[in-house]
């Protein structure tokens, strides 16, 4: 078991390393940091720019291999280099990752929980009104890109705020700048800010999970073991809840891995549109600023989260399903 886990983790490390390196090399060859400095007002001289690029290890006149080696040397020691403005990247990773992970975690829990509940119930009520309604809703939500949802919710929130005459719904920023108060007031303020972006993100996840869970539940609905449970004296409802749902949850766990990647990129839009300073927003900004090291760092974060999600779902799978336990 231990040896096995080690091998799997090693494979993850290799994949993460390759993904990050790939992103770095792609960014280093395609982005143009020199342009960032050339546009400055007043334009600095070529020597100044070269010196600046050299200190940042971004000079396109240095051979790529050399730049890569220097960068890699830093990464191995936990240093992702400096951003184009000259700030250290590593400490910022932690901060931004926190923002993104908070958003994703709450949205995932909310979306998956509601989605599983709705999906399972609509399977039990197959072809009844609830099933048809929830299927229609899920279908509709899945057909709307996150960007559109995010903007539409924002438009709606503006309308509601106008209607009630004060800021009932907040759609900008993670917390009110300069807000002071007790810890619970601070927490409340944060929750208030987090409400809309979390719902936006959770919405599409809900739809995906509702569809998936419905199918999984339909698969076990007529399973022999549900019939056995009823034959021993359980009512249909109890047999479905205790035996069918518990079993149908297992494949949903694997599905979670696939949705997680979508979550990370979905968070990019939500962050950008709702003014959160998370990983996604950072990435968009860094690309427009030709900030190679930040791009690599964000790629690293994304690879790690995808791998972590995959590992987590394996563990959960083994925990939920005694058949695969070792």
């Amino acid at each position: 078991m231990g040896k096995f886990l080690a091998r799997r983790l090693l494979n993850y490390v290799v994949l993460i390393f390759l993904a990050t390196s790939f992103a770095y090399l792609l960014a280093a060859t395609n982005l143009y940091p020199r342009g960032y400095f050339e546009q400055m007002q007043p334009p600095p001289t070529a020597e100044v720019i070269n010196a600046q690029l050299d200190t940042l290890n971004l000079n396109d006149e240095t051979p790529l291999a050399e730049r890569y080696a220097v960068w890699l040397g830093g990464v191995v020691q936990g240093d992702f280099g400096q951003s184009i403005q000259g700030r250290d990247v590593t400490p910022q990773i932690w901060m931004k990752a926190g923002v993104t992970l908070r958003l994703i975690t709450f949205a995932t829990v909310l979306g998956a929980a509601v989605g599983i509940a709705v999906g399972a119930y609509s399977a039990v009520r197959q072809y009844r009104r609830f099933d048809k309604a929830s299927t229609a809703v899920a279908f509709f939500v899945l057909s709307v890109p996150t960007v559109v949802i995010a903007i539409s919710v924002q438009v709606g929130a503006t309308a509601i705020n106008d209607l009630v005459g004060f800021q009932l719904l907040i759609f900008s920023g993670e917390y009110s700048a300069g807000f002071r108060g007790e810890w619970w007031q601070l927490l409340l303020n944060r929750i208030h800010h987090a409400l809309l972006p979390t719902i936006v993100l959770a919405l599409s996840l809900f739809a995906a999970f509702a569809r998936y869970q419905r199918n999984m539940m339909l698969d076990v609905l007529n399973a022999d073991f549900v019939r056995t449970a009823m034959a021993k004296g359980l009512t249909r409802r109890r047999a479905l809840f205790k035996h069918a749902l518990r079993t149908a949850l297992i494949p949903t766990i694997t599905y979670f891995t696939f949705t997680f990647g979508i979550m990370v990129s979905g968070a990019t839009f939500t962050e950008k549109i709702y003014g959160w300073h998370g990983m996604g927003a950072w990435l968009i900004d860094s690309i427009s600023q030709h900030d190679v090291h930040v791009v690599a760092a964000v790629s690293f974060f994304m690879a790690v989260t995808v791998m972590a999600a995959s590992f987590l779902s394996d563990i959960l799978y083994a925990w939920l399903d005694p058949r695969v336990r070792v």
Partner: protein
């Protein structure tokens, strides 16, 4: 249903092999699924809008009407104009054409790759399997968004959108290929595959003749879903200006343009968004209906 038992006298053996009537059956089955009908209807309507719409508006794609900037819908501009005076309807329908094309091409490419990779990995197992699946894993881990964003400068110019198509396809085959692989592994142990092997049919023929046709329903349904995924993906990229590049146009570009004015000039956002949602909804309905109609497993669920 079958009339297998009706004829008792031996019929004379025909001299030519008979033609099967399977396609007709599938067609009938499909048309019997309401969702497919509605989806197809919506899609036909959209196609009509996409190809006839630009002819009716009287405006050319990209043409600017400097007398009306950010004008609400009017007889002149049925869906209003944007900030540079372009007709929103004309722009949206032109975008719709391009989005549809992108969606179809990406779906075709990624499904083909997924089918080949998945079936070869599943059928041969061993090293082939491990190698191909490792590549799929790597592609899953690679931050596709970062790659697309960085390479977006190559989408400029004539045929630049084809690069976008290839990249979108390159990052959307993995999950399907894993599914195909799983199915292949279970199909590989089917007795008719064993039978073919024991007849001496070579592996690549077994894959093409027995394995892939038997998951065609999954592949068709999945390709349909891939169309909508690709359209949504393109929209998302375009929102950040990383998708189709000017002067090319797509629904995503029009929506991104409009979204900046979503609260002040609703028509610039609403109309293209509506087109997009209806398009994706139509495609999703067809895909889901196809899955139900073609997949024997999901059919048994329904009875």
């Amino acid at each position: 249903m079958s009339t297998t038992e009706t004829s008792t006298e031996p019929a004379p053996a025909p001299a030519v092999p008979p033609a099967p009537n399977r396609l007709r059956d599938i067609g009938r089955q499909l048309l019997g699924t309401r969702r497919v009908i509605i989806g197809l209807g919506m899609l036909v309507l959209l196609l009509a809008v996409a190809f006839i719409g630009p002819l009716l508006t009287g405006w050319d794609v990209g043409e600017r009407d400097y007398t009306s900037l950010i004008d609400p819908p009017s007889p002149e501009h049925w869906m209003g104009t944007n900030r540079t005076g372009q007709d929103v309807l004309t722009q949206s329908t032109a975008g719709l054409q391009r989005s549809l094309l992108i969606g179809l091409l990406v779906a075709l490419l990624s499904t083909a790759v997924a089918a080949l990779v998945g079936s070869f990995a599943g059928y041969f197992g061993g090293l082939t399997d491990r190698g191909l699946m490792w590549i799929a894993d790597l592609a899953l881990v690679l931050p596709s968004f970062v790659v697309l964003a960085i390479l977006s400068k190559h989408f400029v110019g004539n045929g630049g959108w084809l690069v976008l198509v290839i990249l979108l396809a390159a990052f959307s085959w993995m999950v399907t290929s894993k599914m195909v692989r799983g199915l292949t592994i279970s199909l590989r142990e089917r007795e008719y595959i064993h039978a073919a092997r024991y007849m001496g049919v070579p592996p690549h023929k077994i894959i093409l003749r027995h394995i892939l046709p038997n998951m065609s329903s999954l592949l068709i349904a999945d390709a349909t879903i891939a169309v909508s995924t690709a359209i949504i993906g393109e929209t998302a990229l375009s929102y950040f200006g990383l998708g189709v590049q000017a002067p090319d146009i797509s629904l995503g570009v029009v929506i991104a343009d409009g979204s900046r004015f979503a609260t002040t000039a609703w028509w610039m956002f609403m109309f293209p968004t509506l087109l997009l949602v209806v398009l994706v909804l139509a495609v999703n309905m067809i895909g889901d209906g196809l899955r139900d109609a073609l997949d024997p497993q999901s059919k048994s669920r329904r009875s």
